[in-house]
Symmetry: C2
C-alpha cells in the first residue's frame, strides 16, 4: 500500500469543494459562467467524441465532450435534467475557480443541445465502453456516473415512497412528504450510495500459485480475481474469507489490503486484497462462477505479457484485478 | 494489517450460510425447529437482560435474550414482523445445524411474546447502549441491526415508490409493481446498504504527534480520529485526503490501511487508516468539528492508561479509533 497505483477511474482531476454544494447562489453563478464545463450523460452514457488517430490496441480512443453554458441552457431549464456539481479545476484561471457539472436526462437530449458538435455521441454500454477513456476523463466519469446512477434509481423516498427533491448540488435527495421519518435525524436514505466490494487474489499456501475464476459473462479464456459485496455487519477481512469460501470452497487465513478503486457500475468501491489460502481443494459455486483454477506465477506472467504460451487471458489493465495480479508477479515494468 | 484485532462488532459467531437464503423450505423448517435461536428487536433495539454481577467499569453488562420458537410463534405470524436469517452456529449440534434469526417489529411486541422472561427489556439508545454487549453478542447484533435498519428505512422501491416484498431470508426487497425498472438486471436498490467510511489517525510530519478532533456531541474532554463517508467515484486513499482536508485544513500524503470494523449505526463499514500529514496548520470545519489539535504520543499514552496527567479522554475501547490510537503508541498490553 506504500506505493499507490494510478489506477483507472481513480485520478482526481477536480477538487470536489463539497463546502460549495449547499451554496445555491454560488452554484447558480457558476452554471451561468461562460468558462464552466458541462459533461452530458444520457441514460448514464457520457457524451464523447472518438479520436480515431489514437484507436490503437489498448490506447484510449474516446474523449469527453466538454460543453459550455450556451450549449446546455435549454437542458438546464428542463426540470427532468439532473445536475451534479463535480468540483473545480485545481488550477485557478484568470476568472477564478473553473467549475464542472454533470447533466443527465432520461430522454434523448439531442434536440435541446445548441450548437452541438456533430461528431459527439453517447458512448453506449458500460463494459467495455467506459474503459475506453483517458485516465483524466475516467476519474471524472467515475464520480459523475456514480452519482447520476443513484439519481436514476433513487427518485422516490425509500422510507415512504413519496417523491423527492434534489439538494446540495446533486448530493442529496430529500423527501417531499412533510412528516416523513427520513426528515428526522441523519440517515443514509438521502445520500448517494457507495457499495463496498472486496476483490482478492488468493495465494496458494506454496506461495507460487494463485486462484482465479471465471464468470460465464467473461470473454472466452479470461480469468480474474474473485470478488463480492461486503455484507452488513462485516469487516473487510471477514468479507474476503466468506466470499472466497462461498465462490471456490477455499479457506483463507491472513488478508492483506493492497489498494482500492472506484468502479462506477453503478457505484462500487473495489477494495483490493491479497490473501493466503489454508486449503487448496476447489469447489465452485456454479450459480456465480463457471470455473476456478490455481495458476502458477509463470502462467500469470505469460498472460501479462501476452506470451503465446499463455493459458488464460488477463482482466483488462483498467481493472484493479489486473493490478493485483501484476503486483503479485513483482512486475513493475510498464506493461 | 498482519495482526487482525478482534475489534468489537467484528466477531463472527455464526456462519452466514448465504446459499440457504433462497431455500424457503429449509428456512421454514428451521423457524419451526425447537433448537433455533430468535433474537428480537423493537425499533432496532435488541432484547437483552442485564447482568448486574458484571456491571463493573468497562465490562459488558448486557446479554442478548435468546428466544425459542414457541415464544415467537405469534410474532412470526404477524405480517409486520421482519425476519432475517443470520446464519448457523459453527459447531453442529445433535440435531444438525442450529440456525439463528433476527425479528423486528415497529409496534411493541411484548403482547405477542409468549412466556417472555420478565427480566428482558429492549436496550434503548444506540450509543452507548450498543457498546455494552459481550464481544460474541456484539458481532451478531452488528449483522442483525444493520439489515433490520435497512428494512426499516427501505420499505418502498426507490426507483418507482411502490411497495416491496422481502425475499432471500431478509437480504433482498423486490418491487411489487410489474414492469418496474428495478426488476430488470442486477441493481443495488434490492440489497441491504453498507456505507463505507474512512477513519484515520493523521500523523504529524515529526512522527511524534497525531491529529484528533472533537464533535460537539462527544462527551466532554473526548477527542477522536477524523472520519467521513467515502464518496461516489472515490478510492479510499482519496477519501482520506479529502476528509482530513475538509475537516481540519491539513494536507495528507501517504495513507496506510490498518484494519476495519462493522459499525451498525445504521450500517457503516469503518475503514481504519494511518496517514502522514504534509502540513500542520489547523483550520477546522466548524459545521462538523468543534476543535482539532495535535497531541503528542505521551499525551495519547496518558489518555490510554487514564493517567491523571491526561489532557483528553480516549474514544471507547469498542471503537476502531481507540485501536488506531493504541496501535500507534505501540502499546500491546491489554489495557
Ligand atoms: N449492492 C449490491 N449490488 C448488486 N448485487 C448485490 C448487491 N448486494 C448483494 N448482491 C448480490 O450479490 C450477487 C453477486 O455476488 P457477489 O458479488 O459475489 O457478492 C448479485 O447477483 C446479487 O444477488
Ligand atoms: N451515507 C451517509 N449517511 C449519513 N450521512 C451522510 C452520508 N453520506 C454523506 N453524509 C453527510 O455527511 C455528513 C457527515 O460528514 P462525514 O462523516 O465527515 O462525511 C452528514 O452530516 C451528512 O450530511
Ligand atoms: Mg462474486
Ligand atoms: Mg459471491
Ligand atoms: Mg456476495
Ligand atoms: Mg467526519
Ligand atoms: Mg463527508
Ligand atoms: Mg467530513
Ligand atoms: Zn419519505
Ligand atoms: Zn419499483
Amino acid at each position: 500500500a506504500a506505493e499507490e497505483p494510478d489506477t483507472y477511474f481513480n485520478r482526481e482531476l477536480l477538487d470536489r469543494k463539497s463546502d460549495r454544494r449547499s451554496d445555491s447562489e454560488w452554484l447558480a453563478a457558476k452554471q451561468a459562467s461562460p468558462e464552466t464545463v458541462f459533461l452530458l450523460f444520457h441514460q448514464l452514457n457520457p457524451l464523447v467524441s472518438s479520436r480515431a488517430e489514437d484507436a490503437e490496441d489498448g490506447r484510449p480512443d474516446m474523449r469527453l465532450c466538454k460543453l459550455r453554458a450556451p450549449a446546455v441552457q435549454e437542458l438546464l431549464k428542463n426540470s427532468d435534467t439532473v445536475v451534479v456539481f463535480l468540483g473545480v479545476e485545481k488550477q485557478e484561471t484568470g476568472d477564478g475557480l473553473l467549475a464542472w457539472f454533470a447533466l443527465d436526462t432520461e430522454e434523448d437530449p439531442t434536440e435541446l443541445l445548441k450548437a452541438e458538435d456533430p461528431s459527439c455521441f453517447f458512448l453506449p454500454g458500460a463494459m467495455p465502453g467506459l474503459l475506453r477513456l483517458s485516465d483524466d476523463d475516467a476519474g471524472v466519469v467515475a464520480q459523475a456516473r456514480s452519482v447520476l446512477a443513484w439519481h436514476s434509481r433513487y427518485r422516490f423516498c425509500p422510507t415512504c415512497g413519496s417523491s423527492t427533491k434534489v439538494e446540495d448540488g446533486g448530493y442529496k435527495r430529500t423527501c417531499l412528504r412533510a412528516g416523513c421519518r427520513s426528515l428526522q435525524g441523519v440517515h443514509n436514505t438521502c445520500y448517494p450510495r457507495v457499495d463496498p466490494v472486496v476483490i482478492m487474489l488468493v495465494l496458494h499456501p506454496d506461495g507460487n500459485q494463485c486462484l482465479l475464476g471465471r464468470k460465464k459473462i467473461f470473454p472466452p479464456g479470461m480469468f480474474s480475481c474473485l470478488a463480492g459485496f461486503v455484507e452488513p455487519g462485516e469487516a473487510l477481512e471477514a468479507a474476503v474469507r466468506r466470499e472466497v469460501l462461498e465462490e471456490s470452497g477455499v479457506q483463507v487465513g491472513p488478508v492483506q489490503y493492497v489498494s482500492s478503486q472506484a468502479w462506477p457500475m453503478p457505484s462500487c468501491l473495489m477494495i483490493g486484497c491479497h490473501c493466503v489460502a489454508l486449503t487448496t481443494d476447489i469447489k465452485v459455486d456454479e450459480s456465480e462462477i463457471e470455473e476456478a483454477r490455481w495458476f502458477t506465477r509463470q502462467q500469470v506472467i505469460d498472460a501479462l505479457v501476452k506470451d503465446k504460451r499463455a493459458v488464460f487471458s488477463m482482466p483488462p489493465r483498467q481493472a484493479i484485478a489486473h493490478y493485483l495480479l501484476k503486483h503479485w508477479t513483482g512486475f513493475n515494468a510498464n506493461l
